[in-house]
Amino acid sequence: MKENLYNYILGIADNSLILGQRMGELTGHGPSLEIDIACTNISLDLFGQVRSYYQYAAKIAGDGRTEDDIAMLRKERDYLNVLLVEQPNTDFAYTIARQYLFDVYHAMFLTALQSSHDITLSAIATKSIKEVSYHQRFSSDWIKRLGDGTNESKLKIQNAVNTLWTYTDELFHQTEADKAMVTEHIGVDVTQLKKAYYQKVTSLLTEAALEVPKLKWFQKGGKSGIHTEHLGYLLSDLQYMQRTYPNMEW
C-alpha cells in the first residue's frame, strides 16, 4: 500500500468530513431558513467531495475497507483534520468565521491541487473548486455584513475571529506525507500558500471594519491526530449509528 498517498488523502478528506459534519449540525437549527439551507448545502458539497477522496483512499488501501469504514470507524487519534474545522458552532459568528478562515485556504489549496500529477486528485480538485468558490462567496459576504453591521454583530464576529485565529497557522504545517507527496509532484506545498492566505484574509477583515488579530503563538496537533476536546463529541454523534448497529445500511 502507498502509505504516504493514503495518509495524504485522509489529511485532505478529513477536513471536509469534519467541517461538513459541523455545518450539518445546523440542519433545522440555522438562524433563518435561508441560512439553514445554505449551511446544509455547504455540508452536502463537502460530504460529496469526501466520498470521492475516501473511495480513492479505499482503493489504495486495497484490503476490503470501504469509504464508509474510513469515514465512520476510525478512532479520534486517527483523524488527521486541522483543529480549526472541529471547533464548535458556538454562535453564528463562530460558524461564519470558521467557514471563512477555512474557505480561503480550501480554495487556494484546491487551485494548486488541480495541477497534481495524480489524475484522480486533480479531477476531484477541479470538480470541488467550483463548489468551494460558492462557499467562499457566502462566508466572505457574511464576514462583511456582520463586521460592518451593528455594534453587537461586530463584537461577535470580532470575538469569533480572535478565538479561531490561533488555529489558522496549522493549515500551513507540512506532515511527513505532505513532504513525500510534494516531492512526487502529487501534493501541494502548503507552506507556499501562507503569505497569500494572510494577505487575502487581512484585506477582507479590513474591508469588514474588523481588526486583524496579532498572535505569536498558535495551536497545532490536528494533522498528527492530537485534537481538541471537541472532536470526541463530534465523532460520537457522527459515528453513533455505525457503532450502535454495526454494518447497518441506509
Partner: protein, 167 residues
C-alpha cells in the same frame, strides 16, 4: 486527456432519454448532460460513464439505479462508471433541457459573467419564470438543492429557483 465530447450509441439514446433527474422530473438525464458515454460492447453489454452535477448530488445513486433498470427492461446489462473529469458544467444542459427547466418554473443558468453580476452584485438579470419580469431579487445563493439559488419576483411576488451557472 479526456474529451468534452459525448459518445452515445444512437440505439441507446431514446432509452436513456426516458430517465430523468429525480429532483427535476421534467429534465431528462440526456438533456442534463450527465451521461458522457454509452456504448454497446458485447451484444447486450452496455458500458456507461456518468458524471455528477455537484459532488454531493444525492440524485446520482438514483440515476444510476434508474439507468440499470430501464436498460434491463430493454434487454441490456448495464455497467456504470462514475467519472469526475472533465467536470460537469451547466453548458452541457441542452437547449431542450433549458426550455424544460423554464417551463417547470426554474430559471435556466445565465452566462458565467452575468451569473456573477446577479449573485454578487445584485444585478437584475434573472427573468421571473411566472411573469417574465426581469425585476427580480436574490433571496439566497443556496436553494432547495445544491445546484440552485432562491429568487423572488418584485412584480408578481413569485418565489422561484434559479439554476446556478457552474463552469
Amino acid at each position: 486527456m479526456q474529451s468534452n465530447l459525448q459518445h452515445i450509441d444512437p440505439i441507446l439514446y431514446p432509452i436513456l432519454e426516458q430517465v430523468s433527474d429525480p429532483e427535476i422530473p421534467v429534465l431528462s438525464i440526456m438533456d442534463m448532460g450527465v451521461v458522457r458515454s454509452a456504448t454497446i460492447s458485447d451484444k447486450k453489454e452496455v458500458k456507461l460513464q456518468i458524471t455528477p452535477t455537484y459532488s454531493g448530488c444525492p440524485a446520482m445513486d438514483v440515476i444510476g439505479d434508474d439507468i440499470k433498470t430501464i436498460l434491463n427492461k430493454a434487454g441490456y446489462n448495464a455497467h456504470i462508471e462514475l467519472v469526475l473529469a472533465p467536470a460537469w458544467t451547466t453548458d452541457w444542459i441542452t437547449p431542450k433541457g433549458r426550455k424544460a427547466l423554464e417551463t417547470y418554473g426554474i430559471a435556466a443558468p445565465l452566462e458565467a459573467n452575468a451569473d456573477k453580476e446577479v449573485l454578487l452584485n445584485g444585478k437584475r438579470m434573472v427573468k421571473c419564470t411566472n411573469c417574465k419580469s426581469q425585476n427580480t431579487r436574490l433571496v439566497s445563493q443556496f436553494g432547495s438543492t445544491a445546484c440552485k439559488a432562491q429568487f423572488q419576483c418584485n412584480d408578481c411576488l413569485e418565489p422561484f429557483d434559479y439554476f446556478k451557472c457552474l463552469k
